[in-house]
Structure formats: C-alpha cells, structure tokens
C-alpha cells in the first residue's frame, strides 16, 4: 500500500509539471497583459512595472524562475493585489473555501446518502418518487437562482441569517453558502445512491444473507451499503476537489472571501502569478482526492488490492 502511494506521488510530479507548463504558455498566449486597463498607462510607467515584475525577461527565463521559486515555496507576488503575495491570498481564501466545501460535502454525502437509501428501499413508491423529484429539481435549478432566493426568503424575509459577508465566519453566515453549495451535490449523491443500492440489494450475497435470516438493518448497513458506496466514493473525489476550491457564484453572491473567485478574476486580470497559483492548488487537490478515492476503493471493495 505504502509503495503504491509513493508511486502515485512520483507520477504526480511530471503531471503537475506538464499542467504548469501548459497553463503558463496558454496564459501568455492570451492577448493583453496585467497592466492594460481602462485608465491606460504611460508607456514609461508600464515599462517600469514590467521591469519590477520581471515581465521584460524572455518568457523561458520567466518560466524557469517561476518553477525555481515554486520549488522554494514562493508563489510570487500578485500583480493586481501588490499588498499580498499569491501564497497569502491563496492561504487566506483556502481556509474559508475548505471549511465551507467540507461541511457542504459532508452534508451532501450524509443527507443525500440517506435519501438515496430511503428511495431504494421504497422503489416505485411515493417516497421514491418524492426523492427522485427533489433530486432532479435540486440538480437542475442553478446556483445563481437558489442563492438570491435564499437571501430573499431567509435573510430579508424571515431575518434568520445575514444576507452576506463572512467577518470571522460564525455558523450563521455559513448556513446560506453551505446549503447552496450542497444542494446540487446532494441531488447527485441521492440519485447515485438510489441506483447503486437497488442494484446492490439484488446481488447474490444479499439474497444469501436474507436466507441466513440476518436482520434488515444488518443486511442494508453491513452488506448492501458497502458495495453501494463505490460509485459515491468515485464521485466524491472530484466533487471534493471542486468544492474545497470554492465557487465563484456562491462567493460573489454571499460576499465570501474564498478562493473560487480568483480562478476567474485572476485570469480576466491577467494576474499571471495568481492564475498559476490557482492552477497549482486545483491540480494538487485533484491529484490528492483521486488518490484518496483509489485507496478507499481498496478498503471498500475486497476485489481491489494494491500490494
């Protein structure tokens, strides 16, 4: 197992390098630069800025410098937020996004899982239809509709929660963003769980378990659920990577200082170093969560072994 993990980490290095090189190149191919703006700059001042950030160097030198600094843990300065380094911006945002993302993911897995099981056990009955209908609605109504609706009803109408903001992040400010982040995931998890559970309940070993007179609870939780979890686990990996790296819509509407908005803003602002920082973050999370998924497979599925 340990050897497998090590091997995966080693193969991740060239993957990351290719991602870095491609992103760096693509970013530079995009027209315009970090210092093109509505209030156009005098060419002398622009040249001074480019010199300050070493953008006047040949692109190959810029790339090798970037990789060298990155190996030393230096993500570079942000061009558009010069008071902060990219590392500071990312770590500030990640704290918030990881917290929100993990809470939303956990809620989606637990509640979606329970709903899916309920639907599977009541297949083609009213409870099943209710879950399927809710899940379909949940996955089709876009976030930018749910978020303002939540604000209108629960913040402005009922005054239970604040409309937006974070300032330290108490549980009250988290409710809205977590619900909005969770709903689409919950819908997908519920549907996946329902399908997997129905299939799992039809398996031979479940019939055997029933024949042996095991209790319903024991059959569902100990035997059927274990194999039904596999599709959920493979879905949860990439979903987790997406959730903990934030959501631009949720962050913008609820005014939350997460990392999600930088993916779009940094690219639009041609803030090269910040774009590269976000690319590194999402690549690392994707690689790590995929590894976790593969390891969980070995735990859940007796047929998978990495030794």
């Amino acid at each position: 197992m340990l050897r497998y993990v090590l091997q995966r980490f080693l193969t991740a290095i060239p993957t990351l390098f290719i991602i870095l090189a491609l992103s760096f190149l693509l970013m530079r191919i995009a027209p315009g630069g970090p210092f093109n703006q509505e209030k156009g700059l005098n060419p002398i001042i622009k040249a001074n800025l480019e010199k300050l950030y070493r953008l006047d160097q040949p692109i190959w030198n810029q790339f090798t410098d970037y990789v060298w600094n990155l190996l030393h843990g230096d993500f570079g300065p942000s061009y558009n937020l010069p008071d902060f380094t990219v590392a500071e911006i990312l770590s500030n945002g990640l704290k918030v996004s990881i917290l929100l993302g993990l809470v939303a993911l956990t809620c989606a897995l637990v509640f979606g899982g329970i709903l899916g099981i309920i639907a599977a056990l009541n297949q083609n009955r009213s409870a099943d239809y209710a879950v399927v209908a809710t899940a379909t609605a949940g996955s089709t109504i876009p976030t930018f509709v749910i978020a303002p609706l939540f604000q209108l009803i629960f913040a402005l109408g009922l005054k239970w929660f604040p409309v937006g903001g974070w300032t330290g992040g108490g549980w009250k400010v988290m409710v809205g963003p977590v619900i909005v982040l969770m709903l689409p995931q919950l819908a997908i998890v519920a549907r996946l769980m329902r399908g997997a559970m129905i299939e799992s309940l039809r398996a031979h070993h479940i019939r055997t378990a029933r024949a042996m007179g095991l209790s319903d609870f024991s059959i569902i939780v100990r035997h059927a659920l274990r194999s039904a979890l596999l599709p959920i686990v493979s879905y949860a990996g990439p979903a987790a990577a997406a959730l903990v790296t934030g959501s631009i819509i949720v962050e913008t509407i609820f005014a939350i200082p997460g990392i999600g908005r930088y993916f779009v803003d940094a690219a639009l602002n041609r803030d090269y170093t910040l774009v590269m920082g976000t690319v590194v973050v999402i690549a690392v999370f994707t690689i790590v969560f995929n590894l976790i998924v593969d390891l969980l497979y070995a735990v859940l599925d007796p047929r998978v072994r990495y030794d």
Binding site: P31, F35, N36, L41, D83, V163, A255, P257
Partner: protein, 527 residues
C-alpha cells in the same frame, strides 16, 4: 443572605456594564464598495476603489472638505511665488503619525521621491509630473534625489514646478501625493501596508484587512482634528454582486454603497426614494475612431457618424438616466472652464440624421456600396447595449455595423498597442478637476490617444496652456484646443458623461454629493 447580596451585586454590575457600553457604544460605519482596493500603499494604487479608504488613512498636504473643496491638510498654509512656480508649504506643528512621531517635510521629500522613482513603478507617478525633473526621473534619465522638492526645515516643504500649474493644489488631495512615514517604510519596506505595521496620518488607522471580506479602520487618536471625528470605526466591505449588495443594504448590513446596479435604477428609486443619490461625476464615456486608418481619417465621415448617434436614447433607455448625454469631452463641473459644445448639440435628432445622410451620399456611400464599421468594446452588459443601440441607429443611414466584444485586458491591450480597429469604446474618469486631464488624451503620442489623432495646432495650444500663468487665459487656450480637437476634428466621439450613483442610509449624516464622488468618513456621523 450572602447569595441574595451576591445576586444584587451581580445585577447591579450587569446594569452598570450595560449602561457604560451604551454610553460608549462604538459608532461603526459599514461602507459597501464594488471591489477591494488594489493596494493600501498610496503610491501603488490605480483604481477608484481605494480613494476614500486612503483619504481616511492619510492626509495629503491639502485635503477635501465635505463638498470636495480643497482645504488645508497636513500643511496649515502655503505661499506661492509670484511666477506661480514655487510653493512653500508650512506643515502643522501638531501633525503626527499614528505612532506619535511628527509628520515632517523630510517625510514628504522621501515620499515624493518614492512616487517618481522608476523602481517604485507607481502607476500614478504622472500626478507629480508638474514637479521639476519628475518625468525624467520616472524615465530613468535622472536620479530621484534630483526631484524639485526640498525640506527647508522640519516643517517647511518647498516644491519647484516646471510651469505654473493652477490645479496643483487640487492634485495634492490625490493619494499619489500623500506622504508615508519615512522611518516606517524604511523599517518595513515589504509590509508597511499590513495591519499592525501601517503608520498613517489621517483620521483613521488600519486595524484589519482580509481581502474580499473587509477592511476595518479605527479612529486615530493622534489625528490633529480627532476631536471632531464622530465615527469610531469604519468597515469597508467589498460586494462584487451589486444586487446582493442592495439586499445587504436593505437588511441594514451596509449603511452605504457606491456602485448601484444601474439596470435596476427605476425599481431602486421607487423602493428607496431619496436614499438614492445620483449626481454629476467628472468622467466621459466615449468612442474613438482609428484616425490613421481609411476611411476614418476623413473628419467629415467621423462627424457624420457622431451626429447620427442618439445620445438621449443611450442615456435614457440603456443607462436608465444614470448617465448624461454628452456633447463635449470635458464634462461640466470644472470651475472657470467654458468648453465648446459639438455643433449639432442643438439640432433635433431627425435633422442630424438628415445631415449625416447627406454627408454619406457625398462621400459615395450608397445602399449598393454601404459603409462597413466594426464597434469594439470591452465585455459588459451596458457597453454591449450601447453598441447595439448605436448599431440600430446607424442602420437607417445604410451603415453596416458589426460588434466585437473582448475582455477588458484584450480590449485595452489592443488599443494601447495601436492595433487595428474601426471604432472602439473607452472612458476617462478625472484624476483632478482640470480640462487638461481630459484633453491630454488627444495629444500627439500620448499612450491613451487610442485614436492616434495628431494635430500641431492642438498640441501647440496645450503646450501654451501648460506655460500660461494667467488662469483665465489658460482656460481659454484649453477651450480653443477642445474646439479644434474634439468639436472640429472628432478626435474622440463623446457619448455620455458619467454620474456618481450612491445609496446612503438616512442614519448617515455628513455625506454630500460632489463631482469627485469624494467622501471622507471624517465628516460623517451616524445616528
């Protein structure tokens, strides 16, 4: 018995505590903005979002009152030499940094040399361009020490200007001219803008800065006018989603917000009444032709198209009257300046269309051989709607207009590199109240002269104005220049004047509308 006494004592203590918190309850102002400041280093800013924050944190030699009029700031008085080229500022004896150390003339010398130094790469270095040698220092032709500024003694700061500059005092209220504490910047060159490290001389000091969340400022006890500062703490809260910001305002989470969603203006007016404050703002929304490219090098053609655009429609239908139809490049609101208006300003739209049609026919454009034009603009719902409106307004004239939108960086990247285009959208918001700030955009060779317009008479008039000591004669030169460049030659096609659009809670007092949209918290109070 003991328990009863204890209870009474605790109850009494609780009441006392409550009363004292009520008496000393902190007055906190929640100021919403559309975005975070780019930087809290006054010399490294470039957007409008940091202006009010930096006005709260720092005080320049001159400051602005509640109506954005220039009043003494860190300098209590000044003397201008008879030729208008030397200013001697007397700093306040009670002027202090937030750590208690005095604000000295040496701090200003250090700061101004820092602004123009090429290594600082200050985007607003041109704010000090009137100072002797400033531009040569920024261009690395001279050393920062050669800047025309001098500390005569601790409290006397002398500035040498290249030419009399009537708007010089006005420029001293801009953040790029503020002083930073020399001792502090030298001790913390990298992080003097961070909470706990920043030392400032304004009404407030920096307490917290979490990007995309909030900036908290608290009252500066060392500020010379601290006794009259009524708000104890200010939170600047960025809200990119303007509709969500309106909900936060309604819920009382924000006391004010400076960037209303203009597309909802009619509804907002109905809902919030006079809490909505729309006023003139020194900015112009314009289109520029590439005057070096055929057929746009033809002045008559440029004028015909400019004439055919229905600006009233744009202001009313596209912008919900949050913009004003514009017939000059320099917006109204600059004292002493009476600029020329486009000739057809007084004509009806129908007459203008007829006149434009005539010109097009004269130039040989017919339905069989139509004029083709591409409008380039940067991505934004409103810019798109303006372009679509102009497209349909020009259609009856037989002009085939196509639209091309690109993101802001691509758009301005192309314009600045003088790439190929027909007509493109741009805008200018004044840095200081002076026509020169706008008219320089049509000067030969200026970076922002996207039209690449070049006219010797125009350049000569601007140069003459720059050397003119008499303010009235100077304004006349500038007005003559606008008459040539804008009115006659359409170096730009002014479409709309910007306006400021704020929403202010009735609880907030001491907020006055002004053309610079400048609102220091120093003058405000909250009930």
């Amino acid at each position: 018995m003991f328990q009863a006494t204890m209870k009474k004592f605790l109850a009494g203590a609780a009441i006392c505590a409550l009363m004292s918190t009520a008496a000393f309850a902190e007055v906190v102002l929640q100021r919403g903005s559309a975005a975070d400041p780019e930087s809290l280093d006054p010399h490294k800013t470039s957007t409008t979002y940091e202006a009010d924050i930096l006005r709260d944190l720092f005080t320049g030699l001159m400051a602005q009152d509640i109506d954005a009029k220039v009043i003494p700031g860190a300098a209590e008085s000044y003397v201008m030499s008879p030729d208008g080229k030397t200013y001697t500022f007397k700093l306040r004896a009670d002027g202090k940094w937030s750590d208690g150390s005095p604000v000295t003339a040496q701090d200003f010398v250090f700061s101004w040399q820092r602004v123009v130094n090429s290594e600082t790469a200050s985007e607003y270095a041109y704010m000090l361009a009137p100072v002797v040698n400033a531009e040569d220092i920024t261009a690395k032709k001279m050393k920062p020490e050669e800047l025309g500024v001098k500390a005569i003694d601790n409290l006397t700061f002398e500035v040498q200007l290249r030419a009399p500059t009537p708007y010089f005092l006005e420029m001293l209220t801009h953040q790029a001219t503020y002083a930073v504490s020399k001792a502090n910047v030298e001790a913390n060159p990298k992080d003097f803008t961070k909470p706990g490290k920043m030392i400032s001389n304004g009404a407030y000091i920096l307490a917290e800065f979490v990007p995309n969340d909030h900036i908290k400022l608290v009252k500066n006890a060392q500020f010379f006018d601290a006794a009259n500062v009524k708000i104890d703490a200010v939170n600047y809260i960025p809200n990119e989603d303007r509709s969500a910001a309106m909900k936060r305002f309604e819920a009382g989470e924000l006391d004010m917000y400076g960037d209303l969603p203009t597309e909802q203006l009619a509804d907002l007016r109905a809902k919030f009444g006079d809490q909505i404050k729309i006023g003139p703002y020194l900015g112009t929304y314009y289109y520029a032709f590439k005057t070096t490219k055929k057929p746009w090098d033809n002045v008559k053609l440029r004028q015909a198209i400019s004439m055919a655009v229905d600006r009233d429609y744009l202001a009313e239908k596209v912008w919900g009257n949050s913009m004003i139809p514009s017939y000059s490049f320099v917006p109204p609101g600059v004292a002493g300046y009476e600029g020329p208006k486009l000739e057809y300003a007084g004509m009806s739209q129908l007459d203008r269309e007829d006149a434009a049609k005539k010109v097009l026919t004269e130039l040989g454009y017919t339905p069989e051989k139509p004029l083709k034009m591409e409008i380039r603009f940067n991505t934004s719902e409103n810019h798109k709607n303006v372009a679509i409106a102009i497209q349909s307004q020009l259609k009856p004239l037989g002009i085939e207009v196509t639209l091309l939108n690109t993101d802001t960086k691509t758009h301005y990247g192309l314009l600045e590199q003088h790439g190929d285009f027909d007509i493109a959208r741009a805008a200018w918001i004044a840095d200081y109240k002076d026509p020169e700030n706008f008219l320089a955009l049509c000067k030969t060779g200026t970076g922002n002269n996207y039209a690449e317009y070049s006219n010797k008479d125009y350049d000569a008039l601007l140069a003459k104005a720059a050397a003119e000591a008499d303010p009235t004669a100077r304004m006349k030169d500038l007005s003559d220049a606008e008459a040539i460049g804008v009115t006659r030659d359409a170096c730009v096609v002014p479409l709309l004047y910007y306006s400021s659009h704020n929403i202010i809670s009735p609880k907030v007092k001491g907020w006055n509308m002004n053309v610079m949209d400048s609102h220091p918290t120093r003058w405000m109070s909250k009930e």
